[in-house]
Subunit: 418 residues, 2 copies
């Protein structure tokens, strides 16, 4: 059961449709055999808007950047922040290849020719093994079928095509109103391993029919990514390929958002709902994971302090193992708080473990308190665990998401290439 | 087979004796039942010098510091850097306990009374589960037997007493000459999990009969710890208890080292030999480890760049899993180089995998090169793997040590408290 529990927000409804939830977006995904695969799981997909979009993206902060990152950055610069569509594949990262950029450009060109636009108006993202030569033939052979198969409900095929070790596809979409107009934001993501918060993270495509300026779209993405994907931790490895792109085609016909204000805030909230839910999905489906872990830090002096502590707790291999073993080894939480790059007062720290199974306080004033091991076991048996850390040093709060560390993480990654 | 291969150095001979290798040091270890244990493995030990020592130490940089860290720091300050002995226990970290400092002070006092010195002249280190109340009765009951059993060959009992999840004891000692006098440096360490390079690391006691000023002893320890224990990575968790102390009693009767020069350099080299070998032992016996990994970075612009890259590679969970699976997934090495906080030129990077099974170049000019999977498999089958990264950007070099990530790491840590 890798499904997450979604929080309900007034004024926003969850809808189906993923990257096709917003008006005017078509998608498709198919199997091209980039790497032979008996299951014939789709490995290539295309997301296309019926008209040109405002487009922004954030990318991995790894200094070793895959070719698609180089190419997408270049295209956004060339167009000044517009795009018509995006092509994505799994099964090959096209990173650390001498001819990588040439191949990524070629893929954009293939898509652009079909759509009848300039290659610079196509963004690209790729994921898979690093340092394997990217085969271009499967693309050339299948681009026509991929294009012909585009449809307004092709979102699921696309979401499946970008999966690597993911066990479930990740799609979220919401509907809301701006100026009495119905608006949508929807997205898809892929994650699983090589995920660390200091970055954009993973492959993600978000589409919206809202009208919004490129500048405000980038601002919204930057602010939301900071409290969603960048607060996600699976294994501390920052991928070479991470890309999160947002395409906005304006079909909703709201008054274009070109500055801060109520409409911008509502847009940001909708984007947060989509991206935070995808973040939780990515956490829950981390490689080998059996549990979603959420660390909520309250009472921080600053947001930076609260966030650093939340991330440090979520990243602790030892805590991740203890959560897998359903062992309330809270000392490891204190230990991880202690090495976070943050200010706090140990004597103020309280820690509570929570889930659908109940709530158990394990630490107060920086020291252990007596608790029922039975009650703790009940809390930790659940598949979504909240680790509540109260610093009682101020009013700032932050959340980070992750998962447990299991035998299967080791199994999956000890023989990933074959 | 957790034994490491030791490098031979001209002018230095490896000898037995651990913390008792240096003249005038006695040790003992025994089982006191701090935590019930059917194997009756020793859990408490004492190391005592026949005369007062110059004493220095480095401690964890975790802001959550265990009581023994607080107490040892206090004692070193009170005495201005001298000590008569050190008491250590496993099975309880005495961290995050409201009465922790009181208990650690009491342990020092118990030892001091037996030896007939001031409690401030005793250092203390403790390791085990965090946040468990420290039982003091086993100490009170056994201190006399511990003291009476001190002997000049009690090093092994002491080394066993500090083991936690370690599968082998860690002792190294060397003999060398200064001013025609025979000198010794020996030490013991315990490690296994909760080990990250940004700190002193683990519990370590080093003893020497060299005559050296407190100031130069601290300088030597600081410089050597930087390139040994601080270059060790097991799981990224920085312990609350890490302590590395050096006691020098001057029994060798060399001219006291009180400044830089030939004698100081030789002392530092001896200290490096002891501490680098213990570091490798700690790496090879990391929790669940089947392989020692060593990352040698050459051609860095600066030492800091080379070190940051070596540490980043050694710390990658994904690479650690690949090494466990003997899978030459070199893309993960490039990925880890890319997110290291360091300057380098991707197009210059070359990576070679080496071991007793041979040598295989997997990456050149920042991109993959064709290599024989069979030859790579042979290299990775060995139990000590060298990952050679040449940055070809300068002349700086650095080494970091770690181990593979295995099912057993997860197993050990998913149920550590019981």
């Amino acid at each position: 059961m890798k499904e997450i529990k979604k929080i309900q927000y007034a004024g926003f409804s969850y809808i189906n449709g993923g990257v096709c939830a917003a008006k005017g977006f078509r998608a498709n995904g198919l199997y091209t055999g980039i790497k032979e695969n008996p299951t014939k799981k789709p490995d290539l997909c295309l997301v296309v808007s019926d008209q040109i979009c405002r487009a922004v993206a954030v990318f991995t902060q790894n200094k070793v950047q895959a070719a698609p990152v180089t190419v997408s950055k270049r295209h956004l610069q060339q167009t000044g922040g517009t795009a018509h569509g995006m092509i994505l594949n799994s099964k090959n990262a096209n990173a650390c290849n001498a001819d990588g950029v040439e191949k990524s450009e070629r893929m954009c060109q293939l898509a652009a020719e079909k759509i009848g636009v300039d290659a610079a108006e196509i963004l690209i993202a790729q994921t898979g093994v690093i340092g394997q030569i990217m085969p271009i033939k499967p693309m050339e052979k299948n681009i026509d079928a991929l294009y012909q198969g585009l449809s307004y409900d092709g979102n699921e095929k696309a979401a499946i095509a970008i999966m690597t070790t993911d066990t479930v596809k990740k799609e979220v979409a919401v509907e809301f109103q701006l100026d009495g107009k119905i608006c949508h934001i929807g997205g898809m993501g892929k994650g699983s391993g090589m995920i660390c918060p200091n970055m954009a993270t993973t492959l993600n495509v978000i589409t919206t029919d809202c009208a919004i300026s490129t500048e405000m779209l980038q601002k919204a993405l930057d602010s939301v990514v900071k409290v969603t994907y960048n607060c996600l931790y699976i294994d501390g490895d920052q991928s070479t390929n991470d890309t999160c792109a947002v395409l906005a085609n304006g079909f909703a016909e709201n008054v274009e958002i070109d500055g801060e204000g109520e409409a911008y805030d509502k847009f940001c909230q909708a984007l947060f709902i989509v991206m935070s839910n995808i973040t939780k999905m990515l956490a829950k489906d981390g490689e080998g994971a059996t549990k979603l872990l959420e660390c909520n830090v309250t009472g921080g002096k600053t947001w930076e302090d609260a966030l650093a502590i939340a991330k440090s707790v979520i990243a602790s291999d030892l805590l991740k193992c203890a959560m897998f073993g359903e062992d309330a080894n809270w000392g490891r939480i204190l230990c991880a708080i202690g090495y976070a790059p943050a200010e706090f007062t140990l004597e103020h720290v309280a820690v509570t473990l929570e889930s659908s199974g109940g709530s158990v306080k394990v630490c107060e004033n920086g020291a252990g308190v007596a608790f029922s091991e039975e009650a703790a076991k009940k809390v930790l048996e659940a598949d979504e665990i909240q680790i509540q850390v109260d610093l009682a040093d101020g009013t700032a709060k932050a959340t980070a998401w992750g998962c447990d560390l299991t035998y299967d993480y080791v199994k999956i990654n000890s023989d990933y290439r074959t």
